[in-house]
């Protein structure tokens, strides 16, 4: 656990020689350090974090969607499926990361498995709720006009579920970005890594802590904004309500 901390660089390595006044005083936001270490520390961590999130949300969405189809089509299976995703969501995130290590090792897979598990709850609930939200008279007119079951699903139920699905995706994405930072406590990866590194320094490396933390926040806000815009584009009819 100690090897990487040294390699990461920081104010305790005197051979770099020309540390700024800000760094010597361990300031909260030393722009020279951020500039110097964007390429070797912050950017790679940010890219890793985005990867972690995209993969977790994509796989989580695929699984939740299949489960939701089953729960929607067979009403009896909805409560147990919901309870299962609820149970996964209840697990403390750090505990799950640690519990998975004996199975999948100190690997990115461990992080992904846990992150996926946490997305299922909100995605499953929102997809099922969205599919069920279609008003009875809309379904009756669809049936009366001779839409088959599949046509009703693809042309009516699924499009009308999009607002709820997108809301679920937003929550799942933002919370995945947040939980993924904690994963670095167990596996040194993503934006959590520089945060935990900074915290492990004797006096806490303030600039590094703030820079990595701020990136995580900006990433969450950016993802949320992007998905909000996407939702508006996908559901022009929904803005009028």
């Amino acid at each position: 656990m100690t090897g990487w901390r040294v390699a990461d660089g920081g104010p305790v390595i005197p051979s770099f020689g020309h540390a700024s006044q800000c760094l010597k005083e361990n300031g909260w936001f030393c722009t020279d350090w951020i500039r110097d270490h964007w390429g070797d520390t912050l950017q790679p961590a940010l890219v890793q974090h985005i990867e972690l999130t995209l993969i977790a949300v994509a796989i989580g969405f695929a699984i939740a969607f299949l489960l939701a189809l089953v729960g929607f089509r067979f009403r009896l299976l909805d409560p147990p499926l919901g309870a299962f995703t609820d149970f996964l969501y209840t697990l403390p995130s750090l505990a799950l990361f640690q519990l998975l290590v004996p199975i999948t090792g100190l690997t990115v897979t461990t992080i992904e498995v846990a992150l996926v598990a946490f997305t299922l709850f909100v995605l499953y609930r929102n997809i099922v709720a969205g599919l069920r939200s279609v008003p009875a008279e809309v379904l009756e007119s669809a049936r009366g006009m001779g839409l088959t079951r599949t046509q009703t699903f693809l042309r009516v139920e699924l499009p009308l579920a999009v607002p709820a699905i997108m809301a679920g995706l937003r929550i799942a994405t933002v919370s995945t970005i947040s939980i993924a930072t904690v994963a670095a406590f167990v596996i040194h990866y993503g934006l959590g890594a520089p945060i935990f590194d900074a915290l492990a320094e004797p006096d806490i490396f303030r600039t590094k802590l703030v820079a990595a933390g701020a990136l995580a926040i900006l990433l969450a806000l950016g993802a949320d904004a992007l998905l909000t815009v996407l939702q508006r584009v996908l559901t022009p009819w929904n803005r009028l309500r």
Binding site: P135, E137, V138, L139, E140, S141, A142, R143, G144, M145, G146, L147, T148, Q151, R155, V156, P159, L160, V162, T235, P236, W237, N238, L240, R241
Partner: protein, 316 residues
């Protein structure tokens, strides 16, 4: 199914819901001639809506037959049957995520029409139901008033030119003034289109106004009387029908005739109240009562006097 109006026959049609006492529709037999409007009317629990939904098989028959142009509905492919029957419901049920144009084009799209043909058809239908083909085409249902939505619902049901229309309290959720206008426009449309229509309502006045024939259903889904509005009002089959159409049925009968149908006396003198020839006898009587007069002058569309109608002429 042909695209001209189809004859619809209920032949001992019966619906019994499992686990419920008595039938919802009990051996219903009646014939709706092609191109006529049959209104199903009656108190709640009379099975009006059930009878309607038996036709497009939203509810399956327990026993008996329903035939469209002589062919039992069970012999049609289910989706073909539904796509060839226009269906209008009270809550309209427009697809909220689709534009007016996409809503109206639903059945033509399912039937595989060319896009250009659907566009032309949608524009025609919007004009037909009194909407603006340019302005309203791209709007979403949430942007429309209740009356406009029901117009779109009617256009959507007419889209593939079905020989038969089922209308379940289509104007029931609309305020009285707009309802009257929609009824008038619907009747004007029907004079042009000549569809076979089954129309459900709980409102006797609407039944009298809209129906070529009225089927009065009583509790338990039994047919109490099936006749023209005139005959239902003049000769109710039993106490139930008499009660249902109301004590004022003689007055209601006056709504069925217009001043133009009377033999008028020559115009003499001045100062009598005036009404156009297409006004109903009921409106004429109301005017005489309000003005405390014994006669009025009937005028044509341009206001030129046609003759005088006295109170006795109206009440005869």
């Amino acid at each position: 199914m042909p695209t001209e109006a189809a004859e619809l026959v209920f032949d001992e049609a019966t619906k019994v819901y499992p686990g419920r006492d008595g039938a919802a529709v009990d051996h219903l037999s009646l014939t709706v001639p092609a191109g006529e409007i049959c209104v199903l009317v009656g108190p709640s629990g009379g099975g009006k809506t059930t009878a309607l939904k038996l036709v497009n098989r939203l509810i399956p028959l327990t026993s008996g037959f329903i035939r469209i142009d002589g062919r039992p509905i069970g012999d049609y492919d289910l989706t073909d049957l539904r796509r060839s029957i226009g269906y209008v419901i009270q809550q309209v049920g427009l697809f909220p995520h689709m534009t007016v144009e996409a809503n109206i084009g639903t059945v033509p799209r399912l039937l595989g029409w060319q896009k250009s043909r659907i566009r032309v058809r949608v524009a025609d239908l919007l004009m037909l139901v009194g909407l603006d083909p340019e302005e309203d085409r791209k709007r979403f249902p949430a942007e429309l008033s209740g009356g406009q939505r029901q117009r779109v619902g009617l256009a959507r049901a007419l889209a593939a030119n079905p020989p038969l229309m089922l209308m379940d309290e289509p104007f029931g959720a609309i305020d009285p003034i707009v309802r009257t206008r929609l009824q008038d426009e619907f009747l004007r449309l029907q004079r042009e289109l000549r569809k076979t229509v089954v129309f459900v309502t709980h409102d006797v006045d609407e039944a009298i106004k809209v129906g070529d024939r009225i089927a009065i259903l009583r509790e338990g889904g039994r047919l109490a009387q099936y006749d023209t509005p005139q005959r239902v009002l003049a000769e109710p089959a039993d106490e139930f029908v008499a009660e249902f159409v109301g004590r004022d049925r003689a007055l209601k009968a006056l709504t069925l005739r217009t001043l133009g149908e009377l033999e008028l006396s020559p115009v003499t003198g001045d100062g009598l109240p005036r009404l156009p020839a297409d006004a109903s006898l009921r409106d004429a009587l109301a005017l005489l009562v309000a003005e405390r007069r014994d006669a009025l002058v009937v005028v044509d569309a341009d206001g030129a006097p046609l003759g005088v109608a006295g109170r006795e002429d109206i009440l005869r």
